[in-house]
Symmetry: D2
Subunit: 360 residues, 4 copies
């Protein structure tokens, strides 16, 4: 392949450049160009140099950024795809552990998987790249539009709810009429992942709250109203929740102090999904009473990372459903469109950002 | 009922007395006398006044201690039991939540259950008491002997392994030949619960380690040898484990510092069972990297408390199996026999104690 | 309550009348009137007298028909509902078995549940009736329209897929990329339940076929095209399927001959859901090779009946999704609107019927 | 390897010979000799030519018989085994489907596995053979003795109970005190597999029955008494069971008439494991009411074949437990010892046979 423009970093040290690169050893039977690529906390963490687990591909002194994308097929030797198809490429690629062997590299048992744009594999923020058909998920709904770029963050949520469903089998989690009516879910954070967790939580029938330590912008307030989510500003309601217990806690902040503050307010058989990562988050103290609390209530804390092909497919289905039911609101999740070459976006989070995307 | 001698405390304040009590409102169709009662950390915690969640039965200013017992039927109006039968009474009694309704008060959803000798229900350390047949589990194996007094601590382990089996469904937990061969289990603590966890872990096929911060007595070393358990003295091997990761972590200490020290050494898809409680354990610090570690590896931490009737039955079956295979060793789990009236036992743990029991 | 017009039968003997009835012992805090009631094979079977398990309510010599309905609240003493709310009432009401106790009377362990319009409880085909709020599911989507009357048949499908998900845990059911791509589902029958099963099957990612022993009407052909379902007329393709094996078999016919014909074409780890009932279906022969086939391939056959509140809620969500994605096509599932008093509808199935409804 | 004496057949045609064979392309790092080999219905079926699915290994016009064995290591290049170790070799060897990839060839998704002594792989009835260490399960219990030859049939039972546990998750299967007390299990057949199923069923807490169409020999009656199993002679109790319903049905006969006779007596949420195969079993008729019965009661019928390494390990553990608890009785499962060269054993079942073995 000839030279193409790309966003690159040098993992794990950091920095970001938009420059020409030549990746000529790339294999695949489909050639793709990004339509949109999303930017998230992981991208910014890499640029800042705060994600120690990231690394460049073997033989390269740089790493192309980008794992959230909506792409277009520009050439295909695969019977599965034709020119013009819209696809989302998978982020994680399998090694040879038992989970990887059955298409679940998200649950990789030995760390031998790779992640595009994160660990040892070039990402999608470049004008053109190749991939194999089995790594691509087709976008079928013609009306989904730009929202399809949210497939990647949404697939993480779909997998996390699968984890929730599995671990909740340890007891009768539903109420005595078989539903989640009256059960409370609290999502910590108000970024795009937090909102997608909240949408899913509402779908499951939870009484759903999202929380931040400061007020949120009007567009986010509006998003909450549209989907029936309650927002809590913990600086104004420090005692929240006073009167009820949290049945389902989801953290997108990665902050241990906030996590354990709300673990201490969980209900019997409560389940906490740990999702957000922030290696630089400040320390917090936990004590014997915290451990007691978890034990006496049969509470489960489950880390959840990434997702498998099945979750990308389900993610597209959920996005399609939400788009059709809450059309205008869903479109407003994309709070900013940027051009290739914009560097500031990686260093400064725009005000009111839910999801910023680059249009290629 | 007339007056009987009993060990009592005043929950949650503490103290212990051996004195005559009159509990004349007790209902049940079977009259029992204890043969043996075991003493554990919970009993000592109550006597010390360090378990804030304990409380006296309604209408009483004291609580009869004792939840680990092996009893003999002395009178029965139930077709299920006859005079002379050996039984173990259940500790926890159901409320009306969905879990309690199906015989799983161990997973009580609202805290409305009670626990004999702990929360709102008189325990078994008294010369005579009544109970209903549906709260009694018969000891069938004629050769089980005194070891049947371990049913109560063992049932907790059976339930915790059920939790392990449920939450491990979130990924392929076994290796690629369907077994746990090569998987490492680490049990923190060297008391009776720790040993029973270790026996079960060996049965499951884990490479099993138990750990303490100091050397252990010869009887415990011998117990490890008999069952194929490896002992680690962390004061001498501070870097343990260096070369492998822990697939299954079980804590019986309740100490958050120790727990998180080893969580940081867990493997991908690792599962930690939090079991031991110690409200007075010192604080520890956790940071963003700890949360990251849990997430990136899809680690699950699960509190597990108590157990249901099914687990008592399985516990008797496991004890029977271990007794027959490791007869002499199993008998040595009971490290001391005491007489009713002995008070010191509640205040000072005998050296080398695995399980101390009172013979009634 | 005063007299109201109702469709009644005399179970299990049969016949149908539209006449005035007085059911004055009915309890409930919400008064309802049907907007639409659907008619299905069970209703026709009862009228014909071929469903031996049906019976009149205690103290009545008749049974009001109707279990598929969309109703309007006309009076409410419940804080949950107000006049004008659109609701779907639950069909099955719990007894006291473990499943009923946790809101799962669909899985009743002892047969002590009741079913509105079928077994011992008056149904919904009457101008007015009372029920308790906890038996009502609210229709939230304002755009769902008449399609909400399909909630009852759809909830059966949602539960059957839950059964599928549970029993498929016995092995790795997905392919080696974690999805159902390439897996074949065959649904026997072309009635409304068959189509709803097919819609769900397509959503799950199965390559989906529906089958009948004769050609189907154009409206059904069109429905297949819209949803991506393949229709097989087994009179013209007697060897179907020749080249592949069925991974998921769903029967809505209740005909043992047809069921076992296709069981013999199932794949390894295949799952068959038995759903359709027809007590008068002709006998068929099975032999030792049939049993061998099921064993050697680890095949599972699972009967599935009814559903719980959670499935009604999910059913509404699925209907809403399908309506928004395939609006016109979904509306065409209702192939005929009839007036209260029409009797012929119970005795003769209109040509091309997918779902016939009575508008009240 | 030089020539060795072996029992061979010509699959699927049948016959049996004891003759010298030379299998010089066999690979493996351990050389084994059988101590005992068991004979079962599959072996006799092959000799009779009634198992159409069997076939010779590629390049051979014969197949060495034998899949049940207890062997001794006579040479080892593996660090896992040393001369003199007692081992049981696995029967089934994986292909490349998702189940085979994770060590579960018993759940093979595409039929590309092989089975020693049955399908395309030479069996264990020969004086000496080679295998790889990863196909061998060590017998650890020094006191298990000859009973270890039952590992192969027992592992099938362990896997079938795993299937039972998985499919029973579809509802609350236990009673309302969390156990199987009061639940009825019926095992059809009185051969060695039937007895092992019955032992396990008793362990699970089922009220356990075994059934045959004729009286059984005194040794079998005695076996029932020892383990607490009830025997039913259906020729004398044609109405059995009259008063209760079967919660767990296990068939070892492969006879469809018998299976469906008792399916019609199953309880709500009942589970039937189909295990025994008999391609020549006579036909039976089933009708619409049979299908109704299965549906209305949410009954599950599950074929179960073979087992994985984990089940061999658990099988050894169960055998060890039963041996220690019922020593003399367990030894009597082996009802006859035969010498290599005996041919009659393959053609005529000795009277009172539970398990016949050949001592090498």
């Amino acid at each position: 392949m000839e030279k193409v423009n790309a966003y690159i970093t040098d993992a794990p040290g950091g920095t970001v450049k938009f420059t020409q690169v030549n990746i000529d050893d790339e294999k695949g039977n489909v050639t793709l160009r990004p339509i949109l690529t999303g930017i998230c906390g992981t991208d910014r963490g890499m640029v800042k140099g705060s994600l120690s687990f990231t690394y460049n591909p073997e033989g390269y002194d740089f790493l192309v950024l980008g794992h959230e994308s909506l792409c277009e097929v520009i050439e295909s030797d695969s019977p599965e795809f034709k020119k013009g198809d819209r696809v989302v490429p998978l982020v994680r690629r399998p090694g040879d552990c038992p989970n990887c062997r059955i298409g679940r590299p998200d649950n990789c048992s030995d760390g031998e998987k790779h992640e595009a744009g994160i660990t040892g594999l070039h990402g999608f923020m470049r004008e053109r790249f190749k991939d194999f058909d089995f790594n691509l998920v087709k976008v079928d709904d013609p009306d989904l539009g730009d929202i399809a770029v949210l497939t990647e963050p949404t697939k993480n949520v779909v997998k996390a709810f699968e984890v929730f469903e599995k671990v909740s089998q340890r007891s009768v989690y539903a109420n005595n009429i078989s539903t989640y009516e009256g059960k409370k879910a609290l999502i910590i954070g108000t970024g795009s992942e937090a909102f997608i967790y909240a949408f899913m939580s509402v779908d499951y029938g939870f009484d759903t709250y999202i929380l931040n330590r400061h007020p949120i912008e009007d567009n986010k307030i509006e998003m909450c109203r549209e989907f029936g989510i309650k927002f809590i500003d913990s600086s104004k309601e420090p005692e929240f929740p006073e009167k009820f217990h949290i049945d389902f806690l989801i953290d997108t902040s990665g902050d241990p102090g906030t996590i354990f503050k709300y673990v201490r307010k969980m209900n019997y058989n409560g389940i906490a999904i740990l999702f957000g990562t922030n290696g630089k988050a400040p320390k917090t103290e936990i004590d014997g009473e915290d451990i007691d609390y978890i034990i006496e209530r049969n509470i489960t804390l489950a880390g959840s990372v990434d997702a498998a092909r099945i979750h990308y497919m389900r993610a597209l289905d959920y996005l399609s459903k939400w788009k059709r039911r809450h059309g205008e609101a869903m479109n407003k999740i994309i709070t900013g469109y940027f051009k290739p070459g914009d560097i500031d976006l990686f260093e400064n989070k725009p005000s009111g950002e839910i999801k910023s995307v680059i249009r290629w």
